[in-house]
Symmetry: D2
Subunit: 215 residues, 4 copies
């Protein structure tokens, strides 16, 4: 299981979370990543934790002021990127372009989507992974694996029908090791979470609980 | 074969094209449709021609000023709608929403896309048809079936791999009956065209030539 | 005072509202307009009521599938258009382009904005009118003139500081003749409203009450 | 005069340009800034050069995956930000929000716009500066001060008419000290440039020539 912590634009201490994630990954052997703001990528990568961008733009090098160039994210230490998060929905053509851009820059890709139909569509674009996150459950503390397990199995089936090599992650409401185990039992090979760690009083304890559920 | 004429925002006489399309369809039995500006839908539908919207919004009834409500398009006489045309690219989640909205309103749907990967993605959302239109060929007069036949067969394969019930139309550069035949030979069951009719000196003659290539 | 009824994407009977508005305008001499979906423009205009588009695109004639061409709206009977409604916010450069496009097509323009600073910005682009509508009050039934009169006077001052010839309309929560009078007393020369008429059991009665407050 | 070098998504060595800019500013006393990709902000700021973001999002702290949080840009060392560059046009309401967000984070703001009318609109939102950059001249090497001096004086007048405290910068085609002098003579107090330095064989020499024209 891959546990990926999305720091969004939260007022958390990104270095504290990054160091905790690096320690937990080292101690347990479970894969843990952190996705900070683009401006914090290099500082987070310097902690040694696996570092992901929250987004990269579809463009190549060139006249693209204000874009998030995949190569710049990679250069700052990112090794993967989220794309099309429900808080940053992209045009279909731009998801395609961003997957290509990330690949060019050597970044792993995870395309988020809302439901099994969109997961199938995302898988058709050839990313390394897709993540199903029903928007209505994000930030609720109610895990999708419990509130709506059919969405997770539906996503796993939809991705497999299009491309069996695409991993399926599961997001929305994940905060405990039990949630991670439940996600795994439904066929997910990773979890995406945010507030469960970023807003925790003790991020490291939250992470240790989460990875305890990883198989 | 379905011949769908997209009037875009061209300064053509939409009623002249609509009447010509209605006549040609009546005379030949070939299915011909016209997609005018939303403001012209009812006038075009009044000619008796099969009328398509160029776009409908993903929203349902409600507080959506400036949207193109699927039900309003249907009410004005549309029986189908294009979605995600390369001049009006949509977010993945909104293509999904617009396909659902169109279905609710009883409109047939055709989702446009640029390449086989995106065609697969579009097919995963369950539209009635997809249309492959490499943006670099739109308006060139060089048919995609000739410039890049692999894009058409790739699109047909990509759609079939995801959902065999989804029709594949072919756009970009179509202007003659031979182009229609070539598209059909590559596996397309319809063509999307615009300037070839809308900018023709004699739209009816252009249409008669086009449908002569339909099988 | 100008009373402009925005039908948004409401499931109301657009023809009933249009006929009621035409009758009330005829009977009272008060200026009343109706802004329906683009697909309903011609049907609404046929009732004889002053007809507005909810939006027009910044583009001129050309390859702009899915746009709302100003000339098509005018051709269907519109004589004015809203722009940048809070449900359809536009890029600054596109508001500029849409104001120019509307002017080319002979449409009156009203640019909506959220607060006095944005009203000043909108006025700098040279529209015929601006409308201040705090998004948090839209659809509440609490008129901005009562909930936050400073926003209205601030908008009137901000517009006048930039261009004295720009009219200021007032939206959000307007539903009675008293609200119209209050808006007028604060310096507005028009009101923008939606649900107060579109969702009324008796739209004509609602309109008669509204215009009773117009001076 | 303020000389601000926008590195866009160019494949230049951002550290080489940053160090050159820091040296030139130190040696000459002319204010020189560099605006890199967000992922490069901290590395650029570490050189000691005045560092600007290319964009910040309108949002505050919170659930905004993929945004460019103003506070994160400031935290990484930025002291200013461009907004609404012609390659990254924003909604009017978002320019307003981004100016507020930047101010909260202690960042100076420069809102770009295409023409005098939009410059007036931008000035009404209360930024520290506005920059006029006719899109058709960006990257041409033909300075706006020469190709279209009326745009610069029109922008200076439009900004002053709305708010005299707003500085006006001038962009598009600036590459030599003479261009900087010409911009200053037309009333600009800064210049925005990109390829003239970022694509120069010797960025430091290009910068030394540029600042030689600053008064």
């Amino acid at each position: 299981m891959f546990v990926l912590v999305n720091l969004k634009a939260y007022p958390c201490d990104h270095l504290e979370v990054a160091r905790a994630a690096a320690d937990v990954a080292d101690d347990t052997g479970v894969r843990v990543g952190v996705a900070p703001q683009a401006a914090h990528l290099s500082a987070v990568a310097d902690t040694g934790v696996e570092t992901w961008a929250q987004h990269v733009s579809p463009n190549d090098y060139g006249s693209h002021t204000g874009s998030t160039l995949a190569e710049a994210a990679a250069d700052a230490g990112a090794t993967g990127t989220l794309l099309n998060h429900s808080e940053n929905r992209l045009k279909l053509a731009d998801i395609d372009g961003s997957v290509q851009a990330a690949e060019r820059a050597g970044l792993e890709t995870c395309v988020c989507a809302n439901n099994p139909a969109q997961i199938g569509a995302a898988a058709a674009l050839g990313p390394d992974a897709v993540a199903v996150e029903p928007p209505e459950l994000i930030g609720t503390g109610t895990p999708v694996s419990q509130a709506d397990p059919d969405v997770v199995t539906g996503a796993v089936d939809a991705a497999a029908a299009v491309d069996e090599s695409v991993d399926v992650y599961c997001g929305a409401g994940i905060s405990t090791g039990d949630d991670v185990t439940a996600a795994s039992d439904l066929g997910a090979t990773g979890v995406l979470l945010a507030s469960g760690v970023a807003k925790a009083d003790d991020p490291e304890a939250a992470l240790r609980d989460l990875v305890s559920g990883a198989k």
